[in-house]
């Protein structure tokens, strides 16, 4: 049987990007953060709460509640509800599925939200129960979070393709440059290549500025039809293409590529563009090696050419391929599952005239990727969206 052709995403708008400013620690619960996102969405859009008939929530710190508990907590009555425990792939996957709900008429306005709180000890306390495999096969080895696993992946990538720390430094330094104009970024102090190279080692070859800072915060967007967005007078970005993939390349003994490579032809095919048409990218950036892999896996260069690519491109907003234009998680911080939305909200802002003070000139097309859930030795979820400026 021939593989069925996926329908396109025509007519879907992504609008009202909201960010609840990040803080290192909060005494609020995750419910507070999600509630603030939705309140801000209503404020900015003028939509009544009753008109939100779809809800998709991602959060690590919502327990014992899930999305359905939030409906009562926030007084919502959606007819379409999803809870996505996909971490860094949450935003991409949420928009992809919400778009289908819009296209099918299952919902008219879907609020896609991710938010997490961060108490002083909650990051450490969450590590041991992150997944069954983590509890049995990584947590007992002492690194706590994902640092050791990404150190393996980074060291292996460096040996295989000749990447140097300096190459990863170019990514981190450019993102910090981008973050200087982002009001909610946790780190808004300039970072030089010298600072990067001199940072203390965390898990060789990963050093301090290769790591994200866990924090509290929330992000969200509204997904609706383009017609609805126009009626409401909302600036929006059009959804051109979307993919998700889970547990890709499980035969690889150590991660050297992500599931994006498996689906990229379909992604660009849906959008009807080639990678060189993309004006800006928001790559999931839990560690710079993953950013480097995405230039390869999403078709901006061949496998193994990531180091040369970052050497020959300016990754800042003014550069040849603006990357993570808000500073990404490496500079803004990782607000739990909201880390899977940071590139999404930023791209919508960039493509709908809402990136005040940090707009990428003439940006028409943006690519957002997601990467989530290190349950054992790699992130299992990958996904990507291509968004376009609505003209």
């Amino acid at each position: 049987m021939a593989k069925s052709t996926r329908q396109g995403y025509a007519g879907v708008a992504v609008a009202v990007p909201v960010t609840v400013p990040y803080v290192r620690y909060s005494t609020h619960g995750a419910h507070w953060f999600v509630g603030q996102v939705i309140a801000e969405m209503l404020r900015q859009s003028g939509i009544a709460k009753e008109q939100i008939d779809g809800l998709c929530v991602s959060s690590f710190s919502l327990a014992p509640d899930t999305a359905v508990g939030l409906t009562q907590h926030l007084g919502l009555c959606p007819r379409w509800l999803d809870h996505l425990p996909l971490g860094g792939a949450s935003g991409v996957v949420a928009v992809r599925r919400a778009a289908r709900a819009i296209q099918a008429g299952d919902a008219e306005v879907v609020a896609c939200v991710a938010g997490d709180t961060n108490h002083v000890d909650s990051f450490r306390a969450s590590l041991g129960s992150f997944s069954l495999f983590a509890r049995d096969a990584t947590y007992p080895y002492g690194s706590g979070g994902p640092n050791a696993m990404f150190a393996f992946i980074t060291a292996h990538y460096m040996r295989t393709y000749g990447a140097r720390r300096e190459d990863f430094g170019r990514i981190c330094v450019a993102q910090r440059e981008n973050a200087l104009a982002t009001p909610y970024a946790m780190f808004r102090k300039a970072l030089t290549q010298e600072d990067y190279m001199a940072a203390r080692v965390i898990a060789e070859p990963i050093h301090l500025f290769d790591c994200v800072m866990p924090c509290a915060g929330a992000e969200g967007v509204l997904v609706m039809s383009e017609a609805r967005a126009r009626d409401l007078g909302l600036p929006y970005a059009r959804l051109l293409a979307a993919t998700e993939r889970h547990n890709a390349y499980r035969e690889d003994p150590i991660m050297l590529r992500g599931g994006w490579a498996m689906d990229r032809d379909e992604l660009y095919g849906q959008a009807g563009v080639k990678p060189d048409a993309i004006d800006l990218v928001q790559f999931y950036d839990d560690y710079p090696v993953i950013v480097m892999m995405q230039y390869e896996d999403l078709g901006f260069c061949a496998k193994g050419e990531g180091p040369a690519f970052v050497q020959s491109h300016d990754l800042t907003r003014a550069g040849s391929l603006p990357t993570n234009t808000s500073g990404g998680q490496l500079s803004a911080g990782q607000a739990g599952a909201a880390g899977g939305y940071i590139g999404l909200t930023e791209t919508v802002r960039q493509l709908s005239g809402q990136a005040a003070g940090r707009a990428v000139a003439d940006a028409q097309l943006g690519l957002v990727s997601g990467f989530g859930m290190v349950t054992y030795d790699r992130c299992l979820c990958t996904g990507a969206l291509i968004l376009a400026r609505a003209n």
């Binding site: 509890r135 096969a137 080895y141 690194s143 150190a151 150590i254 030795d377």
Partner: protein, 417 residues
């Protein structure tokens, strides 16, 4: 080769003794299969009975064919160290106190990718290595990436020393030096580099062969110790409990009676008084002291060895009351293991078949030579196992017991020991 460990410096009495911490001990029920194998010194992974695929991390369904028939099978451990890192930061208290700490990612020749601890003596990635499972200080199995061949002084490695209970540079109490086994233990411990060996002896008027020779060993101090006397145990504990790193409780009373072959309970009571209550007295006096020193430097308190018997698993009617006392001791040893766990002190239970001594005179061979048993116990400490079934008889009984305990009971009742 790696450099031999240097004798730990004397403790600075002004500094606080660190409280013991443990590596993360939480495991799913299915993952405890790894621990169950490592407890007896084996490296086993789940293997699919239908398609043969080796599984890791442990799981409930085959990742290839979805079969639920996953069986724990011994593994060669041959694999390739693909990548490595050295942690300089950890959120975990145990590892935070032991940084830097080397970790690796190994692909086994049989398929799965494993996260492993890496001793310093393991070559740098990429390299062929051998994976083995060990118990860590929490008593849970962890995987180690080891050099293909044993290296001189390998057990001195800092990472391995966090796993095993090697007597080298440690201070040991052997509770009974009068038996052939006790004397063999003292000699094996001295040969293994034990720092000090306190050797207990009850009933000083009994001059038994070999005992006097022990005091010629420079490490040995003979101490009066009668496990049937709470006062005697408390007195010795007052003197040495705060210094003992390893307790080896080999004191036992062994008579050869069932129920009908002897009237009254005096012999059975004497067995229980040493084999069960003796362990209880010893554990109450020495246990807390060991627990306080579970992280006391490179030669911390580390292990508690109980001489049980394979008859603890299932009663051997000709030695019925002895079997019962050893079954009681096994049960108490499990309690002791649970209570010592929090301090990282490993309780090692030894289940020998008949030892070649006076009380097993009428049993046919094979019987365990005391020297062989002593060496097996020291090896168990060096390897870090917690359940030891030394000798052919013990191994055979264990296999029969694991296969079907009820069948073994019937066989023993019918005289088919």
């Amino acid at each position: 080769m790696s450099l031999p460990m240097q004798r730990p410096r004397r403790k600075n009495p002004l500094l606080r003794t660190r409280a013991p911490t443990l590596p993360p001990w939480g495991r799913s029920r299915v993952a405890l299969g790894l621990t169950a194998a490592a407890a007896v010194g084996r490296f086993e992974l789940q293997q699919c009975a239908d398609c043969g695929a080796v599984q890791y991390p442990p799981r409930e369904a085959c990742h290839v064919c979805l079969s639920a028939r996953l069986q724990w099978k011994p593994q060669s451990g041959a694999g390739m160290l693909l990548s490595e890192t050295t942690l300089h930061h950890s959120n975990d208290l145990f590892f935070r106190e032991r940084l830097p700490w080397r970790l690796g990612l190994v692909r086994l020749d049989s398929g799965p990718t494993l996260m492993v601890h890496l001793p310093d003596c393991t070559p740098a990635a990429p390299a062929a290595v051998r994976v083995d499972a060990r118990l860590d200080r929490a008593g849970q199995a962890v995987l180690l990436g080891l050099p293909l061949k044993e290296i001189e002084h390998m057990n001195d490695d800092r990472v391995l020393r966090e796993m095993h209970c090697d007597p080298k540079f440690r201070k040991v109490l052997v509770t009974d030096g009068k038996t052939a086994l006790g004397q063999a233990l003292v000699k094996s411990l001295a040969a293994a580099g034990a720092d000090l060996i306190w050797v207990g002896h009850a009933e000083p008027w009994k001059k038994l062969p070999g005992f006097a020779d022990l005091s010629a060993l420079p490490q040995v101090t003979l101490v009066p110790l009668d496990l049937s006397s709470a006062k005697s145990v408390a007195e010795l504990a007052g003197e040495v409990a705060g210094k003992v790193d390893i307790v080896i409780n080999n004191a036992e009373v062994h008579r050869t009676h069932g129920i009908a072959t002897r009237r009254g309970v005096d012999a059975a009571r004497a067995e229980m008084d040493i084999n069960y209550f003796g362990l209880l007295r010893l554990a109450q006096e020495f246990g807390p002291a060991l627990k306080g020193r579970g992280a006391d430097g490179a030669a911390s308190a580390v292990a508690w060895v109980n001489l049980l018997s394979i008859y603890a698993l299932s009663n051997y009617p000709p030695h019925g009351t002895y079997s019962a006392s050893k079954a009681a001791a096994l049960s108490l040893a499990q309690c002791l293991r649970a209570e010592m766990r929090g301090a990282g002190i490993r309780v090692v239970n030894v289940f020998p078949g008949p030892i070649d001594d006076d009380w097993n005179q009428l049993l046919p061979p094979p019987k365990l030579a005391p020297a062989a048993l002593a060496q097996a116990i020291v090896k168990a400490l060096r390897d870090g196992v917690e359940d030891l079934y030394p000798g052919d008889v013990a191994q055979e009984w264990l296999a029969r017991w694991r296969d079907n305990p009820k069948v073994l009971e019937r066989e023993l009742a019918a005289g088919e020991g």
